[in-house]
């Protein structure tokens, strides 16, 4: 098999070589590269360990930056870096670079040895001098781009919150990358607010904003979407991928074709070596100017964005690509025609890490000129031992305007969030007057010492910062900790979520992030009554904006004090006091049973049980974690990914009693029929017109207990929170 695949690769290379002849003889003065004297190309030794789209630590010595002049297959290749830079650079690998606006310098991310991290370096093209830009030597810095005003933006594993561990991605197990920037002279490093997972591949746009790929992971959502941010890392906005407009699980390496229009890679999260199909993304209404350039910057919004598939045969998922189809690593637009010409990196054959690895092969990315109208590639450079990637014209370009927002020093280092009218939403239609407040929840991941799974439901760690009151005009404001990923939920007077915003977002210290609504129409203007909003008049609710991370947890679990819903501490005592006398795991009407059967006919049976004992071993496998309890499994249900993957069959009375992020529809909540929480806790006011489950059966839950149970559901039905973090316990002899 190995031999066969290698033969195929060689055969394809021969076909490619045959079709390449025309390129070197092209009249380069009139083609898409007519105004380009030279290309810069990054050459990295071939590898196969970067399957995941967020992998950034791959290292193989021997990378170089080369200049190809003229930009044709018979052009002269000159190594710019780093063979003359000194012995320290002899084993460098380079992962990304950018050319300065005046085309005189290159900033790149390089790793000098296996025990070093990726750092930032500045190459002066004329002299060949290379200097390192000062960054934390113990952290990685990648994907640098020049910003106007003599700054560089990058992604880094360094953490903005001194002393706190950086977030870890649950799936690919590595420390996440976040955005940062630094002055060109190495001073003034600033780290941006954090996402709960990775941020990667920033690119500068003509309106001065930076677009990048944001890994959105909240509960079942796991996808890489495009977002905008200003150069000062404020004013985060969605761009492309959500709201049903995406082309694939992940979109990455965007490059602007024209205002509002981008070419990007559409692919799966893993196994694809960060390569995929090419798509032409149009964020707004499409228009053509008198020169034939197509732009899409009018009424830009994620909800109305569209895309055009430029490489229809290339898979957008993780499946192996076919011979002669291959996958694209990156693309750079050379013009803004309706069907633009692109500089691309492309590799033939099954660009999929598992298949390649098994065959002992590595993808061979080469540089091509791609005519998207005819869907034809013409080779420019292909070193069979190297990944030839990120081809860029070496020429001057205009710097866009500097973008940024004022920092409000009166916020005292906190971030202000809010909305002018929470009822304005494209994702949910709210009944007028139905929203009592907006609950703000902080997110974290296993980096604080937790096991792999917070619960069987795939949700991250959460800490409720509080509920900001929605005022009469629908406005709300709150101050929250800066740099921390938060999620917002509109809640009713019973404390139950009416809608959860399906993303984490964060703000810088002193940043004001006030939206029009609750995911309002991004292309529309929000009109408010004359004057300021009610929330502005009242002032923001302070939702632990100044409370240090380690203090953002609860000692008691009352409505106003509860932060994390640690199952064994916040929920189990309720069950012990009021439920286990009936729901004790003894089969019967109060304790229904279900059976799980595998393909071989082996089966095990579960009976509803609200006691706090740890799960038996065989159920821990299906429940997600051995620390989980009988009551947790009974309420949260099975790890359905394990059920699906195991091809297991469930028979009998299987129910999930608490739905993640949806207390209102949860069986347990509906049965118990919670009481009013706001404006005051009132046991005489119930959420549903049904008879409460406890009536005639025992002592009803207190309002605080109702709220804890509701919060358990609305925070994703996790078992772990900071209050029961195994990583905070003592492990002395």
């Amino acid at each position: 098999m190995k031999h066969h695949l290698k033969s195929l690769a060689i055969g394809t290379a021969l076909v490619t070589a045959t079709t390449s002849v025309g390129c070197s003889g092209d009249d380069s003065s009139t083609g898409p590269l007519g105004d380009v004297d030279a290309l810069i190309i990054l050459q990295r030794p071939k590898r196969n360990d970067g399957g995941d789209i967020f992998t950034y630590t791959s290292y193989l010595p021997g990378a170089r930056l080369v200049k190809l002049e003229p930009p044709t297959a018979d052009g002269v290749k000159t190594t710019l870096c780093c063979d003359q830079a000194g012995a320290e650079f002899a084993n460098i690998d380079i992962s990304g670079y950018d050319i300065s606006f005046d085309a005189k310098q290159i900033v790149f991310s390089g790793k000098l040895a296996a025990d070093q991290t990726y750092g930032l370096f500045l190459l002066t093209i004329d002299t060949g001098e290379v200097v390192q830009i000062p960054t934390d030597p113990g952290r990685d810095y990648t994907s640098p781009i020049f910003l106007p005003g003599d700054k560089i933006m990058f992604t880094t594993s360094s953490v903005v919150e001194e002393g706190a561990p950086q977030h870890r991605d649950e799936y690919e197990r590595r420390v996440t990358l976040q955005l940062g920037r630094i002055n060109l002279d190495g001073t003034g490093e600033e780290l941006g607010p954090r996402n709960l997972s990775h941020r990667t591949f920033p690119t500068l746009t003509s309106d001065g904003r930076v677009m990048f790929t944001n890994w959105d992971h909240i509960g079942p959502m796991n996808a890489g979407h495009l977002l905008f941010v200003d150069q000062d890392m404020q004013n985060l906005r969605e761009a492309f991928g959500k709201e049903g407009t995406g082309a694939s699980n992940s979109t990455l390496k965007p490059r602007e074709i024209a205002p509002g229009r981008f070419v990007g890679i559409a692919t799966s999260r893993d196994r694809t070596l960060q390569a995929g199909a090419l798509i032409d993304i149009r964020l707004g209404e499409v228009a053509t100017d008198d020169k034939g350039n197509v732009v899409a910057n009018r009424r830009m919004s994620e909800a109305t964005a569209s895309y055009r598939d430029l490489t229809p045969d290339v898979p957008r998922g993780r499946e192996p690509s076919a011979e002669t189809v291959g996958r694209y690593y990156d693309a750079f637009p050379l013009n803004a025609k309706d069907k633009p010409d692109l500089l691309v990196s492309w590799a033939d054959g099954p660009v999929e890490s598992g298949v390649l690895g098994a065959a002992g092969l590595a993808a061979n990315f080469g540089v091509y000129l791609y005519d998207t109208e005819r869907q034809q590639r013409r080779p420019i450079l292909d070193d069979p031992e190297m990944w030839d990637v990120f081809p860029r014209p070496l020429k001057t370009r205009s710097a866009p305007p500097i973008t940024g927002s004022a920092v409000d020093t009166s916020l005292g280092g906190k971030t202000l969030i809010g909305a002018m009218n929470v009822y304005q939403s494209t994702l949910k239609e709210f009944e007028p007057g139905s929203i009592w407040g907006v609950r703000v929840t902080e997110g974290f991941s296993s980096e604080e010492g937790f096991p792999e799974m917070f619960g069987s439901t795939m949700f991250e760690g959460m800490a409720t910062l509080g509920v900001a009151k929605v005022r009469a005009d629908g406005s709300w404001l709150a101050t929250v900790p800066a740099n921390v990923p938060v999620r917002v939920q509109a809640v009713d007077t019973f404390g139950m979520s009416l809608f959860s915003e399906p993303v984490w977002f964060s703000g810088r210290p002193g940043e004001s992030r006030v939206c029009g609504g609750c995911h309002e129409d991004r292309a529309a203007s929000q009109v408010i009554d004359p004057g300021i909003t009610d929330a502005a008049a009242f002032g923001p609710d302070d939702l632990k904006g100044s409370v240090p991370r380690e203090m953002r947890k609860s000692d008691v679990f009352t409505r106003d004090a509860i932060v994390g819903v640690a199952w064994d501490k916040a929920i189990q005592p309720i069950f012990d006091a009021k439920c286990v006398s009936c729901h004790d795991g003894v089969p019967g009407p109060a304790n229904p049973s279900y059976t799980v059967t595998d393909r071989d006919g082996n089966s095990i049976t579960w009976t509803f049980d609200l006691r706090g004992d740890r799960l038996p071993a065989e159920w821990a496998e299906l429940g997600g974690e051995s620390a989980f309890t009988r009551s947790y499994l009974s309420m949260a249900g099975l790890d359905m990914e394990a059920v699906d993957e195991g091809d297991l069959m469930i028979t009998g009375d299987y129910k999930v009693y608490l739905n993640p992020e949806d207390a209102r529809s949860s069986i347990a909540i509906k049965l118990l029929n919670p009481v009013q929480q706001w404006p005051t806790q009132d046991p005489s006011v119930r959420a549903f017109p049904t008879t409460p489950h406890m009536q005639g059966r025992g002592t009803d839950l207190t309002p605080d207990e109702f709220y804890a149970l509701i919060l358990a559901a609305d925070n994703g039905v996790s078992f772990f929170a900071r209050e029961n973090n195994p990583g905070d316990q003592s492990y002395t002899d």
């Binding site: 200097v131 960054t135 393909r599 082996n602 095990i604 990914e641 195991g646």
Partner: protein, 277 residues
Amino acid sequence: MKNIGTQLAAVALVLATAVGPAYAGKGGSAGLIRSAIQSGSVDAIIAEIERAESLMCGECVDLVAGLLDDERYEVREVAAWWFAKRPALKDAMAQQFVVELASGDTIQTRNAADFLGRTKTYTALPALRVAIGRQLGAEAKVAIVRAVELMGHKDGVPVLTTALGDADATVRAAAVKAWREIRGQRTAAPIVPLLADPDAKVRAHAATVVGALREQSGRAQLEVIVTSDADPFARRNAAWALGRLGQAASREALTRATSDESGLVRMVAKAALASLR
């Protein structure tokens, strides 16, 4: 030397829990895992193990358990990650690995530590504290330190303290590097003596940690490094660290470093000068 007993225990447990072969979900299967293992490719193995993230099958357990002995750390790591998703199995294997921390040879101890670290088995911390004092090869000690680094737990600090005094430079370097990854770590005072370590990599890592934790007692030695250390990485890291400390007394040393022969050092020193009080 394979951790045979642990693997057998795992297989026995999965058979007892009566879950047979399976092929559904993301398309993973025991056959694909076996093929990847037979290919010998780290990338193929990782790809198939990740694909089988939630796959329940006894044959898979046998195959993946075998990978916990692999010579390549990346393979052991992904195998341990796979077990971390199977809590009962993980717990059973962790018990066996804790035993091997106390009695295994260098390779067995290395494999045990890597499993316990990757699965964040905090209950193994007492055993790790004992194991770092055993007569073991550097490979095992580096793995013990790596386990503590992955756990990031303060009760692993005694492991690092012992490792800082190890005769092997790779163990000392690993311990220095792990020091700042302990959650809530506030001091780098125990790292300061390592700024004078005979090994350049240890000095370089020590400079980073002293700077990251702003350990002011390291200033004088950092100034010695930035002006006279033969290793450019150590000089670079010392320059960065002095900028973090921000003491005006470092001005002369950093000024000299701005004309360092290495491109790694010059701009770092200039930027550090701008950070001085």
